[in-house]
Amino acid sequence: MMLSLVHRKLFWVTLLLAAAMVFITCTFNQRKVDFSADVKPIINKKCISCHGGVKKQGGFSLLFREEALDTTESGKPAIIPGHPEKSEMIRRLTLDDPEERMPYDHEPLSKEEINILTAWVKQGAEWGEHWAYVPLKPVEVPETKDPWVRNDIDRFILSKLETEDMKPSPQADKATLLRRVSLDLTGMPAPESVARQFFNDSSDKAYEVLVDSLLASPHFGERWTAMWMDLARYADTKGYERDDSRSIWRYRDWLIQSFNEDKPYDRFITEQVAGDLLPQPTDMQYIATAFQRNTLTNDEGGTDNEEFRTAAVMDRVNATWEALMGTTFACVQCHSHPYDPFVHDEYYSFLAYFNNTRDEDTYADYPLLREYKAGDSIKYEKLRTWLTTNTSAADQQKILHFVKTTDPAYNSLTTDSFENCELNDTKWLAMRNHSVARLRDVDLTQKDQLLFRYASWIPDGILELHADKRDGPLLCKIKMPKSNGWQLMQVPLQAMDGKHDIWFTYSGASLKKDAGGMQFDWLHFTQPFPGNDKPGADSAYNSYLALINTPDATTTPIMMDNAVYMQRPTNVFERGNWLVKGAQVKPGVPKSLQVAMPADAPNNRLGLAMWMTSPKNPLVSRTMVNRMWEQLFGTGIVETLEDLGTQGASPTHRELLDHLSLQFINTQHWSTKQLLKTMVMSATYRQDSRITDDAKEKDLFNKFYARGPRVRLSAEQVRDQALCVSNTMYAKMYGPSVFPYQPKGIWQSPWNGKEWIMSTGNEMYRRAVYTYWKRSSPYPAMITFDGTAREVCTPRRIRTNTPLQALVTLNDPAFLDLARHFAARMKKEGGEELKAQIAKGYELMLYKPLSAEKLQALETLYQSAYAGYQTAADSTLGNNPKDAALTVVANALFNLDEAVTKN
């Protein structure tokens, strides 16, 4: 009975298949099925959640070809290339029995989908590669003689518009173009002189002259830095519970300088990923690596430092992929990528590049780079000179490196085997009376000195260091005096070669029970100070210690690799759990991208950077070009900037993206400014942004670019524009972050009494990019306009439109203050007449004359405000009723749709 049923079923299936074959012969015989375009989307949507990187039901996976053709649990392969009729996978798609038919427990595939899959198997079940993982190849530029076209961008755009039966828009008027390109390139309206020159120049070159002057403006770097800070998750605090301050603004300044000097993008990335590994790195190259030190540090008492070190390392891996390679790699930390060709272990091989850095979730954020000020920098120069004269080049380099970075040193929080002692607040090894602790695996070869940073609270502590056991060979015995805060001490050690566990024992006659006697910050095993028999050695040595412990240096957390004898192994974490360690792995990059490591690449982060910036890397250039396009046009060619993979959005203009990406590498030599110039010089960019009814119908979201971009300003631009038009912007560049007006009571971090203390004078009128960014409590006005908390890398801000945004520009006292200044300027520059004053305000904001209807609305507002202030005098918004009424108008101007939008 059962058998005959099966037979009958088989008969029908065979018949159906035969019928399908006939159909396919008609539809697909001529055309080759495109794996990426036709097959992969079906697999991703309908099959892969059960037969992919996470689950392999029935032993069948469709992630890689070799897996798909492999034997399944049934003992046979599910796909026989060339033979859909013999392929179990195809058979299962058409069955009636819900237990057998695939997709299991879901709607059956459509006829068309089945046809595509069948034809694909028939044609050999070839695996295409996803476009974004294929190296860039030259693309044929569409031919056209249309006079609208200005450069290659327009050729691609126009060709697509023609297939959509749409027409491009004419060029926007000069005023609109000026404002658009100024906001885009410098993040703020162009200075008056630049604007005037543009308006007065009626030649064809006028626009290009404008673009060149904006690209050369120092404000260019500030604008693009603001964008990059979301990718770098830049913040001025460490995150988590206490969310204390972190000094890392030098990295922000490095970004500004790099954008301004148009540092080639390959260099720009290399310095951020591996600046510390470049030969003889400069201070600025070290500072560039702070890109990856913007990860969070957890200062909460009782936290496991290794847990949060690991979390930071994983965050670096994720940010590297998302920000720089447009790929969502984070899912591979738990299992093989469900959709894209990355396997679980590859995450950890990649992680191995980042797993040997010195940072260990310490309170101080070690390792830090110290930059000296005033007297200390003279002291530093003197030390350098003395070392040059009196010691070897190697010794000089070693000493200066240690002065600037205190590397290599062991952080005391890595000690263990505590007896009657503990890590104080889980941060520093603190000793009590008769306490014991251990520091494991210290390399003592040719190191007979110990320099350490400590705080001692009693006058008569006795510290002993023993090798191997608590009562092993004595390395040193030290009388610890009471210290004034953190101090340095250097002591000789019994010479001993090889790796040893160091045991600390400590006692103090005056110590009360349970009281702490001393604590350690870090320990540096070393040789005697070089040249100590030369004249001036004492003074040089004292400078050396003073420079290490100076509280005045500007410090920046940096990346720095472990010394050879401190290397950590890297293991796979089973299902992403850092406590469950699997196989050990070596540094490596995912194979499926098919980009070989450059031959001369070292096996570290520098090699990784060389691999990323190799012209063969398919992702780095595409990701950056796509991002820049999004910044100018409002939406990326691939909408999902963070994911160019198979789960991301499809590119609207794939050939254009590839063309620009190849050009960015080869012709523009990674010049960001040239890339941007190409985009803003295009006719596509210069179009009018008014929407025709036809376009509204066909392409509301402007995916085909039949008009210019029209999008709301970013949080930073909203503020910067208001600063500019009100003539209050303090254009000072660089330096520690500043504190513009913020209402009281916003900051309330536990165990942290810090308050927002408003900057004084001009400092409160700095550009938005300099505003202090506290992770657990970001600046309210910016966060309301879709700024991000910068907890993790945010490759794309999603623009919203909410009443809370209106409340910021209407009521935030910071904006009211600017409105007052704006009104004063309108009055001063607008002349005697009210109408002219209002029109001046509009013109300052939008560079164009105010229409009669708009003027009337604003004038009516002025009159009702004026009437009110005459009867009820109030000087808050102006010294007299007229001034106050004009402030009300200025406040309204900040809120116009045109004002908060790039038109």
Partner: protein, 503 residues
């Protein structure tokens, strides 16, 4: 969701909006002229609640109308949630989990078997056991154990389901709070309230859909991220209502700007924007116009709802509220007012429940007693008040901390603490829920005889999240948002609805 889908959705909205624009405008003028809170008008804007059923229940995000009310995938029992989070983690052993055996062990060394393989935040070496520092009794018909530290709550246990064997895997405040509210111990994920407003929109467009109220003088340890929107659009983050200054940041008209003048200026702005719309034909401008109108109405509606002075005396007596004070009790009363007005999710954080014994405020027999005294009456009043208004059935009330406390006395850094205290504990703690379709007078789960580990009915914080979403009409496994290349959900890869506590 792709732009294409958004596009289609938005086209529908635009059509809707064209029809409604005139009507809305008339309403706006009328409402404003009367100076009344336009609390009913939200319904008109949304196209929901005015008789017309919304087209498709979905969680599509439309940037032009992000707060439109939406239907959940299935009919949920609860319409709104009030989540009372006692930040710092209250001790279950002094409040709900009665352990007479622990009393017998008081002062003895902790057996090694309880310490092996465990990680603690502060306990080092061998700590002493600490017996319960409160008297317990069985209460109500249901006979639930509640200590004398919560005399008021003791009277309403028959409304409540207790989860007595909740577990977590985070033993530090910040990460544990993040886990409870965002499903991840790391920063960057959306909070429960954001998911809910993303999924359901807001029933009252003049009030934020997700309101946060804090007390105890500090923000929760994990900062504003516990009400952040993570990778969801920022519009879904919680709006913190403050007891000082404007109840919502920048809600108040600036000094020197009268209400009439503010209205006149919004009128002028929108008139100019109408002109711009004529020029550009961009629907985003229409959306901006309605956001400004909404902002104006919000300026009226929020202060109205945030003002508790109008509440009758018996209500103040019931909650123990004093208008003008910054207190947990006031926040609880506000929570009731907010859900009454259609706010979807009200999140309270009360800071100061950490009881390490490192100071008097942090002592199990001093600090904890005070925190109970400050909160017990108001929490109880909330249940009774919601009930008497017929709102308890559709309002889910959740009470809990981020983890539990150890049956051992904390010995920070291996030495005795100056006061009685308990360390952070992940293996067992109590959370309770009431209303919103939850069983009344029920106890789920049990711990061992010293309250150290769950022995039956063990649930974790993901299960609690799954249950909350379930009560609102969401299958937590299907409620997702695409991020980092995969559909993310609040409960990540975990979570089971706790069916036993559902009525």
């Amino acid at each position: 969701m792709t732009q294409q889908e958004l596009h289609n959705q938005r086209l529908l909205k635009e059509a809707e909006e064209h029809v409604m624009r005139l009507q809305t405008r008339r309403h706006f003028l009328k409402e404003s002229a009367m100076g009344l809170g336009g609390l009913a008008i939200g319904a008109l804007l949304g196209g929901c609640g005015n008789g017309a059923a919304p087209a498709v229940p979905s969680v599509a995000f439309d940037p032009a109308h992000p707060m439109l009310p939406k239907l959940p995938p299935f009919a949920g029992k609860a319409k709104s949630v009030i989540y009372l989070h006692m930040a710092g983690a209250p001790s279950q052993l002094e409040l709900f989990d009665y352990k007479p055996e622990l009393q017998k062990l008081d002062g003895q060394d902790c057996p090694q078997s309880l310490l092996e393989g465990k990680r603690f935040a502060f306990i080092r070496g061998v700590p002493k056991m600490l017996g319960p520092q409160a008297k317990f009794e069985q209460r109500g018909q249901s006979g639930a154990w509640v200590s004398d530290l919560l005399p008021h709550l003791s009277g309403v246990v028959d409304e409540v389901s207790f989860l007595k064997a909740v577990t977590t895997d985070q033993f530090n405040h910040g990460p544990a709070q993040l886990l409870v509210h965002t499903g991840s111990a790391r920063l960057g994920r959306p909070s429960l309230g954001s998911w809910v407003t993303y999924g359901l929109g807001s029933e009252n467009e003049n009030l934020p859909g997700f309101v946060v109220l804090t007390s105890g003088g500090k923000n929760p340890d994990a900062g504003k991220s516990v009400w952040g929107s993570g990778f969801l659009p920022s519009v879904y983050q919680g709006v913190q209502c403050r007891s000082e200054g404007a109840p919502v940041l920048f809600l108040d008209d600036p000094k020197g700007m009268s209400r009439d003048l503010r209205k006149a200026s919004i009128d002028a702005i929108n008139k100019v924007n109408q002109q711009s719309y004529k020029e550009f034909n961009d629907p985003e401008i229409l959306s901006r116009i309605s956001q400004y109108e909404m902002a104006y109405r919000m300026q009226i509606a929020v202060p109205e709802v945030m003002d508790i002075r109008g509440e009758p005396d018996y209500i103040h007596e019931m909650y123990g509220t004093k208008p003008g004070q910054a207190s947990f009790a006031n926040n609880v009363l506000l929570a009731r007012k907010l859900v009454e007005k259609g706010v979807r999710f009200v999140q309270l954080f009360d800071w100061g429940w950490d009881t390490h014994g490192t100071g008097a405020d942090l002592a199990i027999d001093i600090g904890l007693v005070n925190k109970c005294r400050e909160t017990d009456k108001a929490v109880t009043a909330l249940l009774l008040d919601l009930k008497q208004r017929g709102l308890l059935d559709e309002t889910l009330v959740v009470w809990g901390g981020e983890f539990g406390r150890t049956p051992m006395m904390e010995n920070r850094d291996g030495k005795q603490n100056p006061f009685l205290g308990r360390d952070h504990h992940t293996d067992a703690f109590t959370i309770w829920m009431a209303g919103g379709g939850i069983k009344k007078g029920h106890v789920h789960g049990e711990t061992d005889e010293i309250g150290y580990s769950a022995i039956s009915g063990k649930v974790d914080v993901f299960d609690v999240q799954a249950t909350i979403l379930n009560q609102l009409g969401f299958d937590h496994e299907k409620f997702t948002y695409p991020f980092q290349g995969r559909p993310f959900r609040l409960t990540d890869v975990k979570g089971k609805v706790i069916k036993d506590i559902i009525a």
